[in-house]
């Protein structure tokens, strides 16, 4: 059974009247449009898209904050509309830009949220240690915390009760590089223990680093759902070639595109199997050759670049 499954999940917002005596706009805005998604148990799933793509709206429907306009979804086999309380009992959630009760100490806040969760905070000590939240720090009021500290508290509150599914919206936002690494270690451990993580992020390098599969959403619609490795294989790599003498003819070579030449420097994009490209340059005097590793960012830009064009 998938940890998360949506079938035709749709959310339309109808903007209300903002200005007195001006009629309300009646056309609905599709924030999420017929989204079909399946997240397997035990995987770390990346959910990508630019601002306004529908990521948070999807997450909020999964947790029962928003009611779908069409279609439906199930989390742990439970219906997102009728059984949202049972879903939240088994789920940890880190909202993007989390807001906390400033007048409480970190310790009191975590304790309160653990009591609300109905499950003991079995992971709290371990998470606090990994994220370097000392007892002294936790005794300070939340209002005195920096942005990064608040984010750490947000991560701990989402995971302290050892949920089967963690839904994390921009989890590494505000964390310094050392803490980001500690956070990735936490994710690795969760994965090793068979927990499912649904991970929304703008930071493509971290998605590439931690996720098994990614879904890319654009204008509320799913445009890609693949394994990270498969996306990277298909991604176009940047090639820079310095040749002496006659340049090779690459325009007709399979997998090669965007060929440009400036003097003895030739650049192109390479997609898929590199052998036809290597065969094409075999007869040339190659002074230097750089093939940059494929990056998820390039794939992401390609998806959105297509739309721009």
């Amino acid at each position: 059974m998938p940890a998360i499954q949506t079938i035709g999940l749709t959310k339309h917002f109808r903007p209300g009247r903002r200005v007195p005596f001006r009629p309300a706009r009646t056309e609905a805005i599709a924030a999420v449009d017929s989204l079909d998604l399946s997240v397997n148990e035990g995987e770390i799933f990346g959910f990508l898209g630019p601002n306004g793509a529908g990521k948070s709206t999807t997450i909020r429907m999964l947790l029962g904050f928003l009611h779908p306009s069409g279609g439906g979804g199930r989390v742990h086999g439970l219906d997102v509309v009728r059984e949202s309380v049972a879903i939240r009992r088994r789920t940890g959630y880190l909202p993007g830009g989390i807001a906390l009760y400033d007048s409480l100490t970190g310790e009191a806040l975590l304790e309160y949220l653990a009591r609300l969760s109905d499950r003991p905070a079995v992971r709290r000590a371990e998470l606090c240690e990994q994220l370097e939240l000392s007892r002294r720090t936790l005794r300070r009021k939340v209002r005195d915390y920096s942005r990064g500290m608040r984010q750490k508290i947000g991560i701990v509150q989402a995971l302290q009760h050892d949920p089967e599914l963690a839904i994390l919206d921009e989890p590494s936002e505000g964390l310094d590089p050392l803490m980001q690494r500690a956070f990735y270690d936490i994710l690795d451990r969760l994965k090793a223990e068979g927990r499912t993580v649904f991970f929304s992020s703008h930071v493509l390098s971290e998605v590439e680093r931690v996720c098994d599969r990614v879904a890319i959403i654009r204008g509320g619609r799913l445009v890609a759902l693949e394994e990270v490795q498969s996306l990277l294989t298909r991604a176009r790599r940047q090639v820079t070639l310095r040749v002496a003498g006659a340049s090779p003819s690459l325009t007709e070579v399979a997998g090669v595109s965007h060929v440009e030449q400036r003097g003895e420097i030739l650049t192109c994009r390479l997609e898929g199997d590199p052998r036809p490209f290597l065969a094409a340059i075999q007869q040339c005097v190659v002074l230097d050759l750089t093939i940059e590793p494929a990056r998820l960012e390039d794939t992401f830009v390609d998806f959105y670049g297509d739309v721009e064009s």
């Binding site: 909020r60 904050f65 009992r89 909202p95 830009g97 906390l100 007048s103 609300l116 969760s117 109905d118």
Partner: protein, 267 residues
């Protein structure tokens, strides 16, 4: 009802509640003192025509009898302001303000249903108002004892007086909570609830000062708070029924609307 949320709400409001209760205790104490010290002089002023009779019956209370003075203390703007800290301020902020700040989604990401959240907030506000109304009555009894006029104050109707005050401020709080869960921001919820309270108060006071405006009084929630009548043994069940009906309508609205409304990300 959620125990952890209830305890958290009490912990967050305990200082405010202590200040309000202390204020109402002092105010409740003052009203019998004013009656004992100045009641006779006020009566003379009215009887000599130096003060219009209507001014001596402000909001159904007066200053010539202990029950009247306690009644006046209940509807006086000072009492109203102190009780409004919870009946209006707390209730309107309870959901809308948390939504605006973004803390509501942290609470609701736990296995807490919206009805349980609302039920807990209703119960919390009622317990706050129960404590504050009790403080006002306790202050009045203490003031009467201090001035040696306790014998003029029957103790048997005090629970009914407490219930009447509780129902009035409970009805206002339930309207405040209903407004709070209907809006995404605090200001409109507060504005709507304050509007209801101010208009209601204005109608009651206007009717008590100007006989021609008396037909407007039944449209005021404050018209159904009758401390003097209760303390003199004239209990009108209809007053309790109207306040209960308003409270029930607001709670029913909330129980229907809140679970069905969307809670988009805080802006």
């Amino acid at each position: 009802m959620n125990g952890a949320l209830f305890a958290h709400t009490w912990r967050m409001q305990r200082v405010r509640l202590a200040v309000v209760c202390l204020g109402l205790l002092v105010w409740g104490f003052i009203t019998p003192v004013v009656y004992a010290q100045f009641g006779a002089q006020f009566r003379m002023l009215v009887e000599n025509g130096l003060m219009p009779e209507q001014f001596a019956q402000f909001g159904g209370g007066d200053i010539f009898s202990l029950p009247g003075a306690i009644g006046l203390g209940f509807i006086h703007p000072i009492s109203l302001l102190l009780n409004s800290v919870f009946a209006v301020g707390y209730s309107t902020a309870a959901i809308a303000s948390e939504r605006q700040r973004g803390t509501l989604e942290v609470t609701l990401s736990r296995p807490v249903s919206r009805r349980a959240l609302y039920g807990t907030l209703v119960l919390s506000s009622f317990t706050f108002l129960a404590a504050s109304t009790l403080a006002l009555i306790a202050g009045a009894v203490a003031g009467a004892m201090f001035e040696g006029v306790r014998s003029e104050l029957p103790l048997a109707p005090l629970p009914l007086l407490w219930l009447n005050g509780m129902l009035l401020f409970g009805a206002i709080a339930s309207i405040g909570l209903a407004a709070s869960l209907s809006f995404d921001r605090f200001a409109p919820a507060l504005g709507l609830t304050l509007g209801v309270v101010v208009v209601s108060y204005f109608l009651e006071v206007l009717g008590s000062l100007w006989p021609d405006a008396r037909p407007l009084q039944p449209y005021s929630l404050f018209h159904y708070l009758q401390p003097k009548s209760i303390l003199t043994g004239h209990v009108a069940a209809s007053d309790f029924a109207v306040l209960t009906l308003v409270l029930a309508c607001a709670v029913s609205y909330a129980l229907v609307v809140f679970p069905r409304r969307d809670l988009p990300a805080p802006s």
